[in-house]
């Protein structure tokens, strides 16, 4: 898993790539939680994610729940097919805010 974050227009874009499984999800969770605690608006770019499992999804869910509590924005952007498949299976595809692209996520 690769995790990279940068600031664009006052929001933080987190770019995830590679395989997100139990060996990486704790790192993902911590990065997202730090941003949520700092009450940042976050867009997660998932275009390069080849695989994600329930532990990775759980990290996204936790961030989503905190953003709702904080009133900040948390958007998943450019989700890859493997991510889309798992979100559908978990019936979370209609829960998250999902944008076609990072640009669209930042505008929304």
């Amino acid at each position: 898993m690769n995790l990279d974050s940068r600031e664009i227009d006052g929001a933080v874009v987190v770019t995830l790539a590679g395989e997100v499984d139990l060996s990486h999800s704790p790192a993902l969770r911590k990065s997202l939680m730090d941003l949520m605690l700092a009450r940042r608006d976050v867009a997660v770019d998932l275009a390069g994610v080849a695989y994600i499992d329930s532990s990775g999804i759980a990290g996204l869910v936790e961030a989503y729940q905190m953003s709702r509590k904080n009133g900040t924005r948390f958007v998943l952007a450019a989700i890859s097919d493997p991510v889309k498949r798992v979100l559908q299976l978990a019936r979370l595809d209609r829960v998250f805010a999902i944008a076609e692209t990072v640009e669209a996520a930042l505008k929304g």
């Binding site: 395989e19 499984d21 139990l22 060996s23 695989y51 499992d53 329930s54 532990s55 999804i57 759980a58 493997p82 498949r85 798992v86 299976l89 978990a90």
Partner: protein, 562 residues
Amino acid sequence: MQSDQTPSGDAPDDTASHLDLIVEMTAAFGQSHDVRATLRLGLERIAERVGSEAASLFLIDPATGGLLCHACVGAVDISGLRLAPGTGIIGRAVDSNTAQLVRDTKGDSDFAGVVDDATGFATRSILCAPLAVRTEKLGAIELINKKGGGAFTRADSRLLQALASSSALALYNARLVAAMAEQGALARELTLASEIQRAMLPGPQPADSPVHGINLAARGVSGDFYEIMPLAGGRVAFAIGDVSGKGMNASLLMAKTASLFRCLAKREDGPGRLLEAIDSELHETGLAGMFVTMVAGIFDPAAGRVVLANAGHEPPLVRSAKGGFRAIEDGSPPLGIAPDLLAGGVPECVVDLDGGALYLFTDGLTEARAANGGMLGNDGVRGLLDAFAGMPAADRLDAVVRSLDGVGSLRDDATLLVVEDRRGAADGTFERRYPARPETLADIRASVSRAARELGCDDATASDVVLAVDEACQNVIRHAYKGGEGDVVVHVGREDDLLVIRLMDFAPPSDVAKIRPRRLDDVRPGGLGTHLMRSVMDRVDFLPPPAGIGNLLQMVKRMGEP
């Protein structure tokens, strides 16, 4: 000395006045590691204190029952002198276990005069005290001729008896210590022998070897052995055996038999001739009532065919590819019973494995305790082999012996050998054992993805299957092992139009997974991973854990469906 002439006048405190010597000698015995040297010194002190011209210490020789002189002081060295049982005054002292005071040897018909005859020494008077601890007689101390020409007194006698008692105790203790040390040395020797013996057993075979073996050691030296030896052309010679009896002799015979096998297997005369040759070698060295039960065989993996010869060993079992057992009963008496009994060779039989496996084992396995406490027996062994049939051979043997109850209290070594016909295994079935850790998940996904595609899954199905296996492995890591160390065996195979995945762990069975198959959602309702597994697979079930060991999860996916 005045008291010599007045025996009645020996005061009680005569002994008390010699207490210092008794205390000194007792302390010397307590500190000394060389009891013989201390006894010799003690003897000098006694002779000096009592005032005798000569003194000697005789101990009973356990071999003859006679007396042997171990130490002496005086003009004539008689150490090494042997006396027949009951000889002389000293013999009387030992036999009656009482002190003997002979003021004039001329007046005592028991006086033997053996030493005097041999040396010219003139024995006038004798004081002799037995060395004994309770009823155990050790020998005696004899003092000859009171210095100054008088006779020994009763006071001398009491002093000598006191000193003799403390000497006897020291001797007795020293013998106990020596016996214990000898036992310790023997125990160390046995430990060493059993280590050497186990080092002689073949180590783990490469995973692709068609023959695997395992030996679970009972305490001490055993008589079990097995051998696996590659021959030309991919064939493998193998043997399993059990030497009658226990202990060092059994272990030496086992070592001899095993090395004979290694030597003779290279001659490739067939297992029947091989066993006959070992039998005649064993007779040449003399066996003293010991014998060896042994099966030898040669496996040709290209033909899936085993040639077997059985000399008095438990019948090997064939488990067919479809399950079901058949015992191979052919055989001869054990090796080492009588010369020429096996002349002409042990009868051979040919077994076609047809994709199945041949199991050979020692009675340590059938007689081991099962999980329910009863003896495993033939049915128990078959049950275990069935339960673990889905595992890779080496892991399967490991799982079988691990499921024996009270491994530490095994009465006998348990040894198990498997010979597998793998010709049908090139059908894409995948099976591998992994450490259950987050870092190995990527490896597991890659292997399962490849296996699922090879077995005919389309890309989408393969991805779903990978997800389900990953989630199931996470459950094993997080919930079965709870963060501790452990392995998981991943099996991916095709059964008709079904893709069948089995995951086996070795954690304590979870209560819900124990008794009968259950739907997974009974275990952890609402878990996202569990939900994903159920969503992508057609069936997800915990099967009854084989022999109560670990958890077995089976997931089934109908092939070709989106």
